[in-house]
Amino acid sequence: MWDIIVNATPQLVVAGLKYTIPISIVSFLLGLILALITALIRLSSKKGPFRILKAIFRFYVWLFRSTPLLVQLFIVYFGLPYLKLTFIAPDGIKLTPLVAGIITFSLNTGAYCSETIRASILSIPKGQWEAAYSIGMTRSQALSRIILPQAVRVSLPPLANSFIGLVKDTSLAASITIVEMFEVSQQIAAENYQPLVMYCLVAALYAVACSLLSWLQGYLEKVTSRYVTNAD
């Protein structure tokens, strides 16, 4: 068993550094931006044509929360080439696996995180908006300077949940031909027929990455909570 581990670990680490980590980080950052935009649009009380925009974003969240990530990857990678748009993409939209993966993961994370961010913004008392408006801030100033810094505290653990979940969901990238860490472990298991050993090994590597994230979460929680004291 030890020789399996010694032999497999470097391959797994390389795949992790090459795909798992970069895909997770890039997708999460893009997803977070998308989530913020989505949450703000959905929370806005603007009327008129803006309501169409709200409906679009509501549809987006619904679509990406309601369908399996694997299917989303499949459709973006294998399905879009069939979508032949006369002027924009006459030969269909053919993305490289990496691009298709990052787009899909970002859209998926964005949909989930937008719900978290929306809830955290709603949890900030009305008085904070009013105080910000009263000193003449615009809505976006109030948001970025007053509301979001407070909302971060509430949304950190669920956002960390999403990030940590994403790290492991990148294993689905194998279905669109990306040989990421989990796929490498499967390929090795296919040879040695020891999937249980390989899975424990790859789980340990995921655990290392996710522990770093948990630690980061704890640190950020401390930083963003420095102004609060809670009763026991």
Binding site: Q186, N192, Y193, P195
Partner: protein, 243 residues
């Protein structure tokens, strides 16, 4: 009336996972070996399993699962045997034991029409779409191809069609099965049987199930002798590939 009753020694039954039942692991997602039709599990390996069990005086129970679960499940005694288009390899022999072959599977190389790749030699350095854990993957790898993981045969063909890989190696039978109900426009098929010996497809057992294995071999021999195996092969593959 089953031949299982007539064998002098029933001790293999103590190796069974479940009394009176032969628990068979397979994927259920690979036509024509095992797949779902009209809500029922069917395919060559499913019928073979039924016949084997009957010969051994047992009831067959099929447990479809992913390939990784098949291997792990055999280790922790979740099934008695795995019938899933498995080839015997030395690496696998370290942890498991095999039955006698029941299929000699010919390989086929599928490429885009007009492509220069025609032989096994040509695939060196090329991208080939193969299912993880399959014999095809093994062959492609041995011949220096870069493996692009792919879930199933149809997806592999999509990858070839969309020029995302150069070719795929698969069992000849899979290609025929696909061709029956789907268009193969734009694709060509090259028989590799002259270059590559057919793969010996075997049943996979836990190392401890030696008696069960010999009993299964006996049953397999009987099925071969009475022509059942050939009949099944003709039904699913359109040819006899069991010899």
């Amino acid at each position: 009336s089953s031949s299982g009753k007539s064998t002098s020694n029933d001790s293999y039954k103590s190796e069974l996972n479940q009394k009176g039942t032969l628990t068979i692991g397979l994927e259920g997602t690979y036509s024509p070996y095992s797949y779902r039709k009209d809500g029922k599990l069917t395919g060559f390996e499913v019928e073979l399993g039924n016949k084997l069990a009957k010969k051994m005086g047992l009831k067959a129970k099929f447990v479809p699962t992913k390939w990784d679960g098949l291997v792990a499940g055999l280790g922790s005694n979740k099934y008695d045997v795995v019938l899933n288009n498995i080839t015997a390899t030395p690496a696998r022999a370290k942890n498991y034991i095999f039955s006698k072959p029941y299929i000699y599977s010919r390989y086929a190389l599928i490429t885009r029409q007009g492509d220069s790749i025609k032989k096994l030699n040509d695939i060196k350095g090329k991208k080939l779409a193969e299912g993880t854990g399959t014999n095809n993957e093994l062959v492609a790898k041995q011949n220096g191809a870069t493996i692009v993981p792919s879930g199933d045969f149809a997806t592999s063909l999509s990858l070839v069609r969309q020029k995302r890989v150069d070719a795929t190696i698969n069992a000849r039978e899979a290609w025929y099965s696909y061709k029956k109900s789907n268009s193969t426009d734009g694709l060509t098929y090259h028989d590799l049987s002259s270059e590559k010996d057919p793969a010996k497809i075997v049943g996979l057992f836990n190392k401890k199930s030696t008696k069960l294995r010999s009993e299964t071999n006996k049953a397999l021999k009987a099925l071969r002798a009475d022509g059942t195996l050939k009949k099944l092969s003709n039904k699913y593959f359109g040819a006899n590939i069991t010899e």
